[in-house]
């Protein structure tokens, strides 16, 4: 292999056509609040785990909607379910139940 001095990285573009509607509806069935997030970032701002690791519920919800569920799971891996996010969410989302539900639905093969 000739070394050209540079490599290629995979495209960062998201493809909404890959969105798994059935799985998302399965999640929305057990935790309907996933629909009402308005991406304000309050949860991420107060996240205790997020201070030291890449943890963000807001991003996890986005990742699911943007057809990247594996990234969502990674984003929630370090969550300790302390529940601070549920105290600040302006839409009153039951964040702990949402996190558990995301893990449950998207970890299942």
């Amino acid at each position: 292999m000739v070394d050209f001095g540079f490599g290629l990285v995979p495209s960062s573009r998201m493809n909404l056509d890959l969105f798994d509607k059935e799985k998302y509806e399965e999640l929305a069935e057990i935790e309907p609040d996933v629909r009402i997030c308005m991406a304000c970032g309050s949860c991420t701002a107060v996240c205790t785990a997020g201070k030291y690791t890449r943890t963000s519920l807001r991003e996890a919800i986005e990742d699911i909607k943007n057809a990247k569920p594996e990234k969502a799971l990674e984003m929630l891996r370090a969550c300790q379910l302390c529940g601070k996010c549920s105290m600040v969410c302006p839409r009153g989302i039951n964040t702990r139940h949402l996190i558990l539900s995301i893990t449950k639905v998207y970890s299942a093969k």
Partner: protein
């Protein structure tokens, strides 16, 4: 003596102001360039935030104008200011000597063809908010055939200096959310996306509408302006945008794309303004008399403005503006106008 008042424009603002002034006992003459009254309201199906039929609201407004002298398919041929009044020659041959004139010329919808990158008029399945309302009203449009994925593009001809439209059109966010709910009702299996820069849901109940769209209808809101649209061989559309919340570019295939055309100053209203050399601001809408409290007074004495002639407004705002204009006109005609000797001084002091 009953003063003559000429009202230009038979949309919601003109109709409401006519009704109010007629009740006050003035002699109201209303002219409308189209053959039907109602302006854009006559072309709309349902109204945000509650989804009331536009027909109902319009027939209520028209009902209130009983006794008003109405001329449809009539425009202004010439208008000039006499010492205190306006001498107006209409295209139907009638001349009116009017003590006050109200311009309620409304707005035009932005011509979506100008945003070529969205492909309106080029791709079959790109339509506008007005086309969608016409579909809801008439029940058929060959471009709308059981779409599975529908995208709404906010800010088409709004907040876009490239197309000469810097300002926000104010009503399109709520309209898009309303229409997103309505298409979801028509096509329950469809996925619906709204591409926005900011969601400006400022009015009473508007935020409830937004929450309802998310919660009950599963409408997906993506922050990012659609940058370009292209067409697949099967007629479906590929859109490109950035999800600015995720900081990633995205693409998605849509079966139908709805462009939220914004409000532009009325071209025929501008023609009337030109006859009077009325001041137009940089945004193209008529200037009101200086000062935040000037309300519906124009810089010219006896000449008033109401509705979207002075910038984008929602329907309730337009109606409130029309009622306010009626009060201002009444004040002018009772306090300033009758005092022939001191007219000029009073205009200087109180206009």
């Amino acid at each position: 003596m009953k003063n003559n008042i000429l009202i230009i424009g038979g949309g919601p603002a003109g109709l409401e102001a006519s009704a109010q002034l007629q009740r006050m006992g003035y002699n109201v003459i209303l002219i409308e360039k189209d053959s039907v009254l109602g302006g854009h309201l006559a072309k709309w199906d349902r109204l945000f935030p509650d989804g009331v039929p536009a027909d109902e609201v319009l027939s209520g407004l028209i009902h209130g104008t009983e006794g008003v002298k109405l001329f449809t398919e009539t425009e202004i041929r010439a208008i000039n200011r006499l010492e205190k009044s306006y001498n107006v020659r209409l295209t139907n041959g009638i001349t009116v000597l009017s003590d006050a004139v109200l311009i309620a010329s409304g707005f035009d919808l932005f011509n979506a063809v100008k945003k070529e990158e969205y492909g309106y008029g080029i791709y079959d399945r790109v339509i506008t908010n007005a086309d969608l309302e016409a579909y809801f009203k008439n029940g058929s449009d060959k471009r709308i055939d059981h779409p599975k994925r529908i995208g709404f593009v906010h800010c088409v001809g709004s907040r876009d200096e490239k197309s000469g439209c810097r300002s926000c059109s104010k009503v399109c966010c709520a309209t898009a959310v309303k229409q997103a709910i309505e298409v979801k009702e028509s096509f329950p299996d469809a996925e619906v996306f709204c591409f926005y820069m900011d969601l400006r849901l400022f009015g009473r109940h508007y935020e409830d509408l937004y929450l309802k769209a998310q919660k009950e209808y599963g409408v997906r809101f993506i922050r990012g302006r659609v940058a370009e649209v292209s067409e697949n061989i099967d007629g479906s559309l590929v859109i490109k945008a950035e999800d600015t919340v995720a900081s990633k570019p995205l693409k998605a295939t849509m079966d139908l794309l709805v462009l939220m055309s914004g409000m532009r100053p009325s071209v025929s209203g501008k023609a009337v303004g030109d006859l009077l050399e009325m001041t137009v601001e940089e945004d193209g809408y008529f200037a009101v008399r200086s000062g935040i409290a000037a309300g519906q007074r124009s810089p010219l004495p006896g000449l008033f403005l109401a509705g979207a002639a002075t910038g984008p407004k929602t329907l309730p705002e337009t109606l409130a503006d029309a009622r306010a204009a009626a009060v201002e006109i009444d004040r002018y005609l009772t306090e300033i106008f009758p005092d022939a000797r001191n007219y000029k001084q009073l205009v200087r002091e109180r206009w």
